[in-house]
Symmetry: D2
Subunit: 394 residues, 4 copies
Amino acid sequence: MSHEEIAAAALDQLAIELPSWGFANTGTRFGKFLQAAAATTLEEKFADAAQVHQLTGACPSLALHVLWDLPGGIGDVARVQALERQHGVRAGAINPNLFQDQRYKHGSVGNPDPAVRAEALAHLRESVDIARELGVRDVSLWFADGSNYPGTQHIRKRKHWFAEALGMVHERLSPAQRLLVEYKPFEPAFYHTDIADWGMALVLARDAGAQAFVLVDTGHHYLGQNIEQIVAWLLDEERLGGFHFNDRKYADDDLTLGSIDPYQVFRIFHEIQQAAWEQGHPPDLAYMVDQSHNLKGKIEAMIQTVRTAQELWVKAALVDRAALAVHQSACDLVQAERCLTEAFATDTRPLVRAWAEAHGLPPDPYAAFRESGYLETITRERGARNLSSVTSYA
Amino acid sequence: MSHEEIAAAALDQLAIELPSWGFANTGTRFGKFLQAAAATTLEEKFADAAQVHQLTGACPSLALHVLWDLPGGIGDVARVQALERQHGVRAGAINPNLFQDQRYKHGSVGNPDPAVRAEALAHLRESVDIARELGVRDVSLWFADGSNYPGTQHIRKRKHWFAEALGMVHERLSPAQRLLVEYKPFEPAFYHTDIADWGMALVLARDAGAQAFVLVDTGHHYLGQNIEQIVAWLLDEERLGGFHFNDRKYADDDLTLGSIDPYQVFRIFHEIQQAAWEQGHPPDLAYMVDQSHNLKGKIEAMIQTVRTAQELWVKAALVDRAALAVHQSACDLVQAERCLTEAFATDTRPLVRAWAEAHGLPPDPYAAFRESGYLETITRERGARNLSSVTSYA
Amino acid sequence: MSHEEIAAAALDQLAIELPSWGFANTGTRFGKFLQAAAATTLEEKFADAAQVHQLTGACPSLALHVLWDLPGGIGDVARVQALERQHGVRAGAINPNLFQDQRYKHGSVGNPDPAVRAEALAHLRESVDIARELGVRDVSLWFADGSNYPGTQHIRKRKHWFAEALGMVHERLSPAQRLLVEYKPFEPAFYHTDIADWGMALVLARDAGAQAFVLVDTGHHYLGQNIEQIVAWLLDEERLGGFHFNDRKYADDDLTLGSIDPYQVFRIFHEIQQAAWEQGHPPDLAYMVDQSHNLKGKIEAMIQTVRTAQELWVKAALVDRAALAVHQSACDLVQAERCLTEAFATDTRPLVRAWAEAHGLPPDPYAAFRESGYLETITRERGARNLSSVTSYA
Amino acid sequence: MSHEEIAAAALDQLAIELPSWGFANTGTRFGKFLQAAAATTLEEKFADAAQVHQLTGACPSLALHVLWDLPGGIGDVARVQALERQHGVRAGAINPNLFQDQRYKHGSVGNPDPAVRAEALAHLRESVDIARELGVRDVSLWFADGSNYPGTQHIRKRKHWFAEALGMVHERLSPAQRLLVEYKPFEPAFYHTDIADWGMALVLARDAGAQAFVLVDTGHHYLGQNIEQIVAWLLDEERLGGFHFNDRKYADDDLTLGSIDPYQVFRIFHEIQQAAWEQGHPPDLAYMVDQSHNLKGKIEAMIQTVRTAQELWVKAALVDRAALAVHQSACDLVQAERCLTEAFATDTRPLVRAWAEAHGLPPDPYAAFRESGYLETITRERGARNLSSVTSYA
C-alpha cells in the first residue's frame, strides 16, 4: 500500500471522544483563568464538540459527566438525546462524580462510613442506568479516593470495599456495557490513592467481572515509567478498555496530547497497531481526550489535540512491521529501532490533509476555525455571563 | 551539657511563623472540603494563630497575605497592628499575590505585556511599604509565572523582566528589610516556571542586591533531590533567607512537616545547626510554615507541625558534632553516619515536654487543645457562615 | 503487654537472611573500590555471615548465588552442607544468575533466540534442584531482561516467553518449594524491563502457579511510589513472598536499610504486622538483605542493617492497633496518624539491647565487632590476595 | 531562504565531537557485554572516529580521556599528534579521570585527605598542560565526588575544597583555554554529589574565573526537569560551555541522543539557535557526545547519534522566529507553540541527505557503513583479543 492508502485506512479507524468538561472553565488550585467563550451549559458543550468534529472528522461522540451535565440524572436522558440529534454528536462515556460532594471528604466507595459507600454505589448504579438508556457502552470510573497521611486510613479494608462496590456495579451492567477502571498515582490524595497504578486497576477489574477493563490516562504514571509497556501488557491480558489522552511534564498536568513528548504517544499508538496487525483486526478501545485547557482557547486546543493524534496515529501506521519482526528476532538493534524512528520522522501532515480533503473536511482546521467566526460569536454570546464572577483562591 | 540543657537551649532559639492562609478553607483543583471552624477574617486568623502559640510557645508571628488579609493595602496597617496587640502575635512576612487576578493569566513580572508588569511591580512595592510600616523584616516572594507549553513564552526575555523587577523592588527596601525569593519546579505552570530551582533564585537574588535571599520551601524540589545540600550551599553563599515548612510525597503536596519523611527534616536542621556550631551563632533565618490542611483540622495540624518541628530540632541539636568532625575527617563512614542516626533515634518527646512545662506551657498540646473547647466554640460561631456555600469543581 | 514484652515477642519472630554477595567486593559501573577484608570464597562468606549472626542473633541463613557460590551446580551441595554445619548458618534462598554470561546480551528467558531461552530454563531448573537438595524453600528470581531502545524487542512476545518459562520452572518445584518473582523498573535495561513492576510480577506469578510469589525489593520502585501500599495489596492477594531489604535516594542504590528513609521502612513493617494482628499469625515472608556495600565495611554495614531493621521492627510492634482501628473508622486523622508517629518516635534501642542481653548477645554489636579483632584478622589473611588486582573502568 | 538553504547553513555550523571511550567496551554494574569490534588502543579509537566523520561530515574531533588514552600523560602528546595527522581527526576535549583510582574512594578534590586532594590537583594541572600542548581549548571536568550516606562527609567543607582546586586549575589555563564544569545529580555517589546541579556548577565556575563554563550533560538531570530552560539561563549568564549529548529514560542511561525524547533535544537546539538569531552569531559551544553503547554496535550507534543530531538541528533551524516573536508577545499560545511543532513535524531527512551529497558524503551513512566492510575487518582484526577475557560481576 502507498503511504496515502495506509494513512487513509488508519484515519478511517480513529475516532476520538471529546470530554464535555474540556469546553468549560477550569483551573489549578491557585485559581481559574476565565475564558469568555467557555461553555457552561450542556447545549454549549455539544455545540463546541460539534465544531471540533466538523473540522477534524474524528470526534463523533462527547463524554458526559453526570453531576455537571445530567444533574437530573436519568431524567435528563431525553434532553441529551435531543442534543445528540441536533448536533450530530453522540453521547459518549458516562463519568460519575464521586469526589466533589462534601460527603466524600474521606472517600467514596472506600469511605469507612457505610452510609457514604452506599450513596456512592447508588450514584454508580444510576450512571450505569443512564449509559444504558443513552445506548452508551462505557461507564468510566475515576476515583479520587485515598488518604493524605500514613495511618489515617486502612489500605486493605478500602481495597475490599472497592472490590465489593465494583462487583455490585458490574452486576448492574447490561451485556453490551463495559466498566472502565482508571488509575492515578496521586492527587487529590497525596499519601495513598486507592487505585494507584495499572496493577491495582487490573486486580479490581478482574475481580469485578468480564466486562470490566482498565482505562489508561496517559498522564497518570510515575516519572520514568514505560507507558507503552503497560499498554502492551493490558492488551495481552485482554483488559485494556481505552485511553484518556493528554500530556504532562511532571504530574497530571492535563496538557494537550503530544505537546511535551510526542514520541511517547507514537510508541503507544505503535503498540496498539502492532497488536492489531498481528491479530488481524484493531483492538476494541475507547480513545477519549481528558485535558484541562487552562490557558489555551478550549476549542482550538481540542482541534490541536485531535489533529496531533491523527498525525501521530498515521506515523505509527507507517512502521514497517514485517521488517521490524525480522530485525527484532535477529536482535539487529539499530535496524529494528529505525523501523520506529523512520516512521516517526515522516511528515504525516500532508497525508492527514489529503484524507481530510477526501472527506470534505478543511485541510487546515486551525485556519478554518479562525476563519469561521465561531469563536467570536460564542465569545459575544457567552462572555457577559462567564466573566461576571471572579475567581478566588482554591 | 545534659540532653535537657541542649534541648532547652535549642528550643529557646526556634521560632516558627504561622501562615494566615493555613487557617482558611483550601482545597485541591478537584474541590474544597469546607471546615466549619475555618477562619475567614483576619481577626479569626490572628485568634487561631494565638491559640497555636499559647499551646506550643514557638509561634510569635503570623505571615500575612496582602490580597486576602490586607485588601485595603497599606490602609489596613492600623487594623493589623491592633490585632497584633490584641492577640500577642506579631505580623510576620508579607506575601504579595501575583497569581490570582485575571490579568496575570500569562504571568506577572514576567508577562510580555508591560502594563501588567507595571501593575505587578506596583503591588510588590506596596508590599514592601506595608512591611516597613508594620515593622516586618521580610517580604516573601513566590511567583506563579511560567508557561504551559514549549514555545509559548520567551524564557530569556522573562528572565530579564524578572531581574529588572526584583532590582526595582530591592531599591524600595529600607536597610532593615529583606526580600525572600522562592523557587518551585512546577505548578501552576506546567512546562516552565520562571524561578524553577534554587540556582535561578540565587542568580536573581544576587542580581537584585545585598538584601535579597533565597527562600527554601521544602516541598518545592524534584523527586530525589538532596534538599539539605542546597541548604548547606545557600548557607555557605550567605544567601539563605529562610524556609517554608511542609512535606510531600510526590509534588508540592503541602502536607504537615515531617509527616512523610521526618529524617529529611532532621538532616536539614542538622545542616543549619552544624553551621551555627561552626560559626558560633545561629544563622539568621526565617522559619515559616506553608501548608494547606485540606482534610486535617487546621489548628490541630498547626500544633502537630510545630511540635514535630520542635522534636526534630532537638534531635538535630543532639548530634555529637565533635565526634562527627573526627569521623568525617577519618572517613569512618559508619561511625560518622551513626552520629546522625543515634541522635535521630533518641526520643525527644520528653525533652520537649520538659521545656514546655518549664515555660508554663501544656506538656501535651494536642490534649490541651482538645480540652480547651476552642474548636467547639469557633465551630459554632463560624459554622453557619462557612458552610453556606458549596464547592464547585475548580 | 509491656514495651519490653512486645519488643521481645516481635524480635523473636524476625529472621533476616544475609546475601553471600554482600560480603564480596562490588562497585558501580565507574569502578570498584576494593576492600582487603572482602570475602571471595564461599567459606569466607559463611564465616562473615556467622559473625553477623553471632552479634545480632537474627541471621540464621545465607542467600546463595548459584553462579558465584555453587559454580559446580548441584555437585557443590555437599560442600555447602558442610559449611552450614561448620558455621551454624543455613543456606538460604537460591539465586540463579541469568545476566552475566555473554549469551544473555539480549535477555535470558525473554531472549528471541530459543536456544538461549532453553539454556536459561535449564539453569533455572538446576537452581530448583539445588534448593531442593539443600532443603531450601525459596528460589529467588531476578531477571535483568529488557531492552535499551524503543522497538528493539517485542514486548508481548517476551511476556509470553516469560510466562512459559516460569510455568515450566514451577512444574519442577516440590510441594515445599516456592518461586519468588522480583520486579525492577530499570537497570541494567534502560528502556523496558520485562518485569518492571509489582503488577507484572503478580500477573506472571499467578500464571506460573500456586507456589509462585512476588518478591519486593525496597529499592525497585519509581520515585514517589507508595511501597507499603503495594505490600498491603500483595498481602491481601496472598501473593507476597518476601523482601529484599535496602534503601535508596534516587535509583536502585543498594544502600543500607533505613539509611535514607527510615519512616518508610517502618510503614512497611507496620503493614505486615497489622496484617499479622488481624489474622492472628504473622504472614509467612522471607526477609532478605540485598545491599551492595561499596564503601562501607561489609560486615559492619550488615550489622548496621540488621540492627536498624530490629529497631524499626520493634517500633512497628508498638503501634496501638486497637486505637488505630477506632481512629481510622472515625476518620480522626491526626489521632490515627499519631498512632504511627508516636510509635516511630519511641526510642527502641534500649528494647533491642535488653532482648539481646536476654539472649546472650552483645548489647552493642558495633562495639563488639570492633573489639572482636575479626576484621583485623581477615584483613590480614585476605588482604594480599584481594588487593593484587586493580579495578578497571567497567 | 529556502528550507534547503536554511538546512545547509545550519549543518555547516554543527560540529560534534566524539568520545574516545565510546568506541571501547563498556557495561553496567551488572557486567559488560563484549563486542569483538570494540576499540582498545588509541589508534583504534582514532580510526573508528575517522569512519564516523567520513560518513557524516560532522565529527572533526575526538575527546580524549587522560588515564585511558594518554597513560603517559604529557609524554603521549606526540603520539596523539601523529594520530591526528594520520586520521584527519583532531584531538578534542581533554578529560581527566579522578574516579577510578583506589585513592579516590572518598573523593578527589573533595577528599578530606589533603594528600589525595593534592594528587587530584596535580592530575588536573597536567590535563591542562596536555590540552595546551595539543592545542585543545577545553578541559572537561566531571567529578564522581560525593557520599553515599547522610553525615559521612562535610558538605560545606567539600564545597570549599572544590572552589580552591578549581581556582588553582583555572590559574594554570592559558588565555585560549577553557574549563568546563559538569554536574550530575547522582551516581556513583548515591546520597550527595558535590556538583549535583547546574546551580552548583555555576557557583563554582564563577568562583574559578572568567574561563570556566558549565557543561550540560543531557542525561544529568532530575526527572521532569526542564533542560532547555537551564540552557537558556546559562546562555543568558554567558556561562554555557557546551554539551554532553545522550538520552535517558530514568537515570543517566547514556543512550543514543534523541532515542527516548527527540522533542526535548529539538527544544534545546531551539534555545541555542534562538539566542544565535537574536545576537547575530552562534554562541561558542562545544557539542560532544557522551554515550555508552552497551549493546548497540559502537560505530553504528555513533553514526545514528550524529545523524539524529543533524536532523533535529535542522528542524530547530526551521522555526519561524519572526512569527514566533509576534505570537509570544501577543500570548497567542497555540500559534506560538505551532512555530515549534510545525518545524518539528517537518521531515528533515531529505535536507540532510542533500547537504551530505553536496559535500561528497554518502546520503545514507547507515548503508554506507554496512557496505564498507569496515566492521567486518575490525571484527576480524580485534576479535580474538577482545573476547579473550570474560566479564565478571562488577
